[in-house]
């Protein structure tokens, strides 16, 4: 038995009132002159036993009445004797996260969960209201037949889902049902990485089942990444594996196996490659299948093309020319006219890496060239003084002289580096624009060790090919719409327009992003690496993490099914308590009236 408002039990202290009245009744009241007091004394003596019994009876009836009212005010809940259950709002939360696809005893864990849900559905009555809530927060309601179909179709998702969202929605639907008996039945593998943060649900009552068998040993690919994301045409693939011992792996690209090897536990493997394929390609890093197959393969994407030809104008400066010579010597770029590296006043073609002119006299010509080439930025006021620059691969870089980059109407660009609150290096569709000359007089960038890699990245990733990139996400997430793409292409070649946001597909894999039906980037969907860690909470530990009103832990699957309608078995005792109080009052009235009935006829 439990109480929804236990503080009202304090009303029980009011029993002191009839007790005190009973004990002090001989001391209270007015003094009345009454000559026949001797008759009264005699009456009390002769009927004292009857009077005492009746007074005690009245006192007990009044005490019990107060206790019954206090009991009712505390809103008690208790199990009622009898079979069946009252109409119940039951939301069944099924953990169908990726980890639920692990095979245990020859069957996926999710199959056991589905069987348990079917058992619960078979206990439902037509008066019950039922919902199935998957771990990603999707809610399906309806008749038992519909829910049976739903549970048959249910598959493990490719990610961890959102357990907090699922529980919140389950609590919301049962709360909105209007039924008195509300219950959430949760079946989960209790994965520790999945149940880190659960929002409090004060009014929820959960019946919980967590398998208590041994946890399967799991191997997984936790990292698969092409570095850089654009190969010209050389690059490397980085991979890491979760395993308790060394494991063999296979790397595929565009459906072709091009690398195999063995990796030590948690070792990061790097495979260099210069494949003959060109364009946006999909690849995978794979392990031999184990009990959890979903994380034995991890996708990646890469753009592969020839090394771009680069022309350096004299106004760009010696440091840029020397750096590009280094890149040419490593075959990352070649002589050619694919990309121009120029001072802004010399700009005549795109794509181009554009730097501010060394001489302020050329500033006007530079801005005219920018305008002529349709670049929505202009050089503005000159800024002096050393200031730190912020941006990827630009740690420790400072600027001592720069021009303010003034955005023109409709300017859309990525800020690659900033100084203070102002943009310093910006990138657009076919250009990268620096607000300083690349010389030691204006910045220490050309003398930093990171300069050549940064320049290589700008030339081979920003300015070569289409202006797309590789996006990485988890299944079911939502990303901002990339400006450079208008569609998404699935593995079977189907293209879907992108709306206001990019809805990440539920299945893992590589999806190409397209612009005007041409591949311009890739979306790599992979499960969070934490899903591969199968360590789980015990049912009791997880129950403590669920910040809800009440958690009933089912020791086994059968008990979980039987407890799922526990809320209906635990009905309110308010009405019975009030009925008892009423009956006690009636009894008290009868006792009092019986006295009147004893009046003598005389």
């Amino acid at each position: 038995m439990s109480f929804l408002a236990p503080l009202y039990l304090a009303l029980g202290a009011a029993v002191a009132v009839p007790l005190l009245i009973h004990l002090m009744r001989r001391r209270i009241g007015a003094r009345i002159d009454f000559p026949a007091a001797r008759y009264l004394l005699r009456a009390e003596k002769e009927h004292s036993r009857t009077l005492k019994i009746r007074n005690l009876l009245l006192m007990f009836l009044r005490v019990l009445t107060i206790l019954a009212i206090a009991f009712a005010a505390a809103r008690p809940l208790a199990e009622w004797v009898g079979a069946g259950h009252a109409p119940t709002a039951l939301a069944i939360v099924v953990d169908n996260s990726l980890s639920s696809s692990v095979v245990v005893n020859g069957h996926p864990l999710l199959a056991e969960f589905k069987s348990m849900v079917r058992d619960v559905l078979s206990s439902a009555t037509s008066a019950d209201r039922m919902w199935i809530v998957t771990i990603d927060g999707n809610v399906r309601g309806g008749s038992v037949a519909l829910l049976r179909d739903e549970i048959e179709r249910m598959e493990a998702i490719s990610g961890a889902g959102d357990p907090g969202l699922a529980l919140s929605r389950a609590a919301a639907v049962v709360r909105a049902s209007g039924l008195g008996a509300r219950q959430i039945a949760l079946v989960t593998d209790g994965q520790r990485t999945e149940w880190q943060n659960v929002p409090p649900l004060a009014d929820a009552q959960i019946v919980l089942y967590v398998p208590n068998g041994p946890v399967a040993v799991n191997r997984a690919v936790t990292l698969a990444e092409a570095r850089p994301s654009r190969w010209t045409p050389r690059g490397e693939i980085a991979a890491r594996f979760q395993s308790t011992d060394s494991t063999t792996y296979r790397i595929t690209l565009n459906g072709r196996t091009f690398a195999r090897g063995t990796a030590a536990p948690n070792e990061e493997v790097t495979v260099h490659a210069s494949p003959p394929e060109r364009g946006w390609l999909a690849g995978t890093v794979e392990l031999e299948p184990d009990e959890l197959a979903a994380d034995n393969s991890r996708p990646f994407a890469v753009w592969i093309g020839p090394a771009p030809g680069v022309t350096v104008s004299p106004g760009a400066g010696q440091f840029l020319k020397d750096a590009i010579d280094v890149l040419k010597s490593s075959s990352r770029v070649v002589d050619g006219h694919d990309i121009a590296v120029v001072s802004a006043d010399e700009l005549t073609t795109l794509p181009a890496l554009i730097v501010a002119p060394n001489d302020p006299v050329h500033l006007g010509a530079a801005n005219r060239a920018l305008e002529r080439m349709g670049i929505p930025w202009r050089f503005g006021l000159r800024r002096s003084g050393e200031a730190s620059a912020r941006g990827p691969e630009l740690d420790g870089v400072t600027s001592t002289a720069r021009y303010e980059l003034a955005a023109q109407t409709g300017a859309v660009a990525d800020t690659l580096a900033s100084v203070g609150q102002e943009a310093w290096i910006v990138a657009g569709g076919h250009y990268v624009l620096a607000g300083s000359p690349i010389s030691p007089d204006a910045t220490n960038l050309p003398v930093r060790a990171s300069f050549v890699p940064w320049l290589g990245g700008v030339l081979t990733e920003r300015l070569v090919g289409e202006p797309g990139q590789v996006l990485a996400s988890e299944p079911g997430k939502h990303l901002p719409r990339p400006r450079w793409a208008d569609g998404i292409e699935t593995a079977d070649g189907q293209r879907t327009p992108i709306g206001d946001a990019l809805d990440v597909p539920d299945r893992t894999g590589t999806y190409f992003l397209t612009l005007n039906a041409r591949r311009v980037g890739a979306l790599v969907v992979a499960p969070p690496s934490g899903e591969s860690v199968l360590d789980r909470y015990s049912a009791r530990d997880l129950a403590q993490r669920l910040r809800v009103n009440r958690v009933l832990v089912a020791p086994d699957a059968g008990t979980w099914a039987s407890l799922s309608f526990r809320a209906a078995a635990r009905r309110s005792l308010i009405e019975p308590a009030l009925i008892v109080a009423l009956l006690l009052l009636v009894a008290e009235t009868l006792v009092i009236r019986r006295r009147a009935a004893l009046r003598p006829a005389a």
């Binding site: 009744r25 001989r26 001391r27 209270i28 009241g29 007015a30 003094r31 009345i32 002159d33 009454f34 000559p35 026949a36 007091a37 001797r38 008759y39 009264l40 004394l41 005699r42 009456a43 009390e44 002769e46 009927h47 009857t50 009077l51 009746r54 007074n55 009092i592 006295r595 009147a596 004893l598 009046r599 003598p600 005389a602």
Partner: protein, 303 residues
């Protein structure tokens, strides 16, 4: 018939009637009404008639010397009358503190009721040529008027009734003995009391009176609230005479109390009946005619 009854003061509400005048006036109205309602008695009337002369002796009352004979014959003779009254009655009235109580301000106290009843009874008997006396008592004899039938006796009775009283305890046995001494001949004794006293003492006194040949009638005065208990909830009930205090819840004990009152009345009826004493319960809300008729009926039964 109804109009006749409506004019009869003996059938009025006692409290309303008492508000109209003093004791003697109320008593006259009551007796007049009562007599008007009586059927003519088969007995002859009573009177004081001359019987004989006898020589004057020292100590004789000079009022009874026949001065005409003394003037004619120079002999002093005293007129002797034959006492034709066949009843000498004494009203023994309890004026203890318990009698000065009423359960409602709209009713007479038991003492007020008893005083007016006594006055009416005295007047009634005097009109019947009976001698009537009065003894008032509480814990001692407060006043005593010897039984007489002559003119002015009723005034003396009224004067005695108007004397202050209201002592503490009642002592009926002593008062009854006193009454017996005052009544040298066999007669009627009417005890008017609330009988809040020991049954044994009263019974013993009654048996003594009966042994002396007296006829005794007891009018037990009860306020209606004494039969039913006042509606007072939880209260401390205190006897003003004995200071006996009894805490009680009226609702709890009312039924038992009513049973007890019935038992007490039965006890008095039994005890007094066994002693040959007439016993009547008189409620203070009953018209005076009711107890008057009962007391007069006793007198009519006497030889």
């Amino acid at each position: 018939m109804e109009s006749t009854q409506a004019l009869r003061a003996d059938l009025f509400d006692p409290a309303s009637l008492a508000a109209l005048g003093r004791i003697e006036i109320v008593a006259r109205w009551v007796v007049d009404g009562f007599m008007a309602g009586l059927h003519r008695s088969p007995r002859k009337g009573f009177s004081v008639e001359f019987a004989d002369y006898r020589p004057y002796q020292a100590g004789d009352d000079l009022r009874y010397i026949d001065w005409k004979i003394a003037a004619r014959s120079d002999r002093w003779v005293v007129r002797q009358y034959e006492e034709e009254t066949n009843l000498r009655a004494t009203i023994v009235l309890d004026v203890s503190r318990s009698m000065a109580w009423t359960g409602s301000p709209e009713r007479l106290t038991k003492l007020q009721y008893a005083e007016r009843l006594s006055a009416a009874l005295a007047l009634l008997l005097l009109r019947q040529r009976d001698a009537i006396g009065l003894i008032r008592f509480d814990d001692r004899i407060r006043s005593a008027v010897p039984p007489r039938a002559r003119h002015g006796q009723w005034r003396r009775v009224i004067a005695a009734l108007e004397e202050p009283g209201e002592g503490r305890a009642s002592s009926a046995p002593q008062a009854l003995e006193q009454a017996a001494r005052l009544i040298s001949r066999r007669g009627l004794i009417v005890l008017i009391s609330d009988l809040l006293m020991d049954t044994t003492d009263v019974e013993r006194a009654m048996r003594t009176l009966r042994a002396m040949g007296h006829d005794v009638t007891v009018l037990h005065i009860l306020d209606p609230a004494e039969r039913d208990l006042p509606a007072a909830g939880e209260a401390l009930f205190v006897d003003p005479e004995s200071e006996l205090a009894v805490p009680a819840s009226v609702a709890d004990v009312r039924a038992a109390y009513q049973n007890t009152v019935v038992e007490v009345i039965d006890e008095w009826r039994s005890v007094l009946g066994a002693a040959g004493v007439s016993y009547e319960v008189v409620s203070t809300d009953a018209p005076f005619g009711v107890p008057l008729r009962r007391a007069f009926a006793v007198r009519q039964q006497l030889p």
